[in-house]
Amino acid sequence: MWRWLHPYAKSEATFALNQKLLPWFLIPGLLLTLVGVIWGLAYAPPDYQQGESYRIIFVHVPAAIWSMGFYVSMAIAGLIALVWQIRTAEQAVLAIAPVGAVLTFISLFTGAVWGQPMWGTWWVWDARLTSQLILLFLYLGVMALYVAFEDERAGGKAASILALVGVINIPIIHYSVYWWNTLHQQSTITKVITRFESPSIAPEMLWPLVVNIFAFMGLAAALIIMRLNNELLRREIHRPWAQKILNTGDKENSDAV
């Protein structure tokens, strides 16, 4: 059942697959970003309560969604790395982690910038903000653990284990933080934002948001593939296939990079 996975243990095969996949993420990602951002900033109607400031949602929500989504994908890569002992999967873990951390940072930053005009404060200990902050710590932990090892194989495996332990913990952390937040008196201002969770969001606002969610997935996936490709080439720089790509690449690869 899992035999199709094995060829990709070879860096060369993974690299070839990546090269094929990259344009399918990068080009739609860029196009959708262009469409989504312009639609969201200029054409979506203003919110009747928050005015124009709500337009931050078009970057905030996609970043928040994928910061969690890519953590799960990182853990899946970690599982593959541990179960089938596939090195390229370890490298995938390490390619995903920085991108995921940046997405988490974006969601925190845009949340703070949104919170200032709406709630009058940059930061509240709201359940979602708090669990997002913890998610950032988890990403940083995975990255720090990898860097701490001198042996790259050992570091990759250790980071994979930590990613897996973290993914079991994420739902627990998430719900415990929610529970903690309802236990302590919840500031009424945080309820302003929960309105967006209900499906009652107007379709004129929902559609650009959906476009941006897909756009961010494309962009983030393209960045991850680029990082993974670099990593694959770096570790196999002595091998003929990598040298061939690096030599001929100047013209051919410049559009793919």
Binding site: L41, P45, E52, V102, T110, L223, R234, L246, G249, V257
Partner: protein, 65 residues
């Protein structure tokens, strides 16, 4: 189009600083990640070229000796 003029678009109903800084930082982050990936690839190319040059020097020296 929800805005009458460019200045209204930039002002964002008084929330311009917040909205534009959020969008700016978001795409700055993406841009930096992309730049870093491209920069690393060029560095790898240089390294590969250096290694091959060294390899050729070694082989040349071997042939001559």
């Amino acid at each position: 189009m929800q805005f009458d003029s460019w200045s209204a678009f930039i002002a964002m109903g008084g929330y311009g600083v917040y909205v534009w800084s959020a969008f700016f930082v978001t795409f700055l982050c993406f841009g930096l990640l992309a730049l870093e990936a491209v920069w690393r690839r060029t560095k790898l190319r240089d390294e590969a070229r250096k290694q091959q040059a060294r390899q050729q020097r070694i082989e040349k020296a071997k042939r001559e000796s």
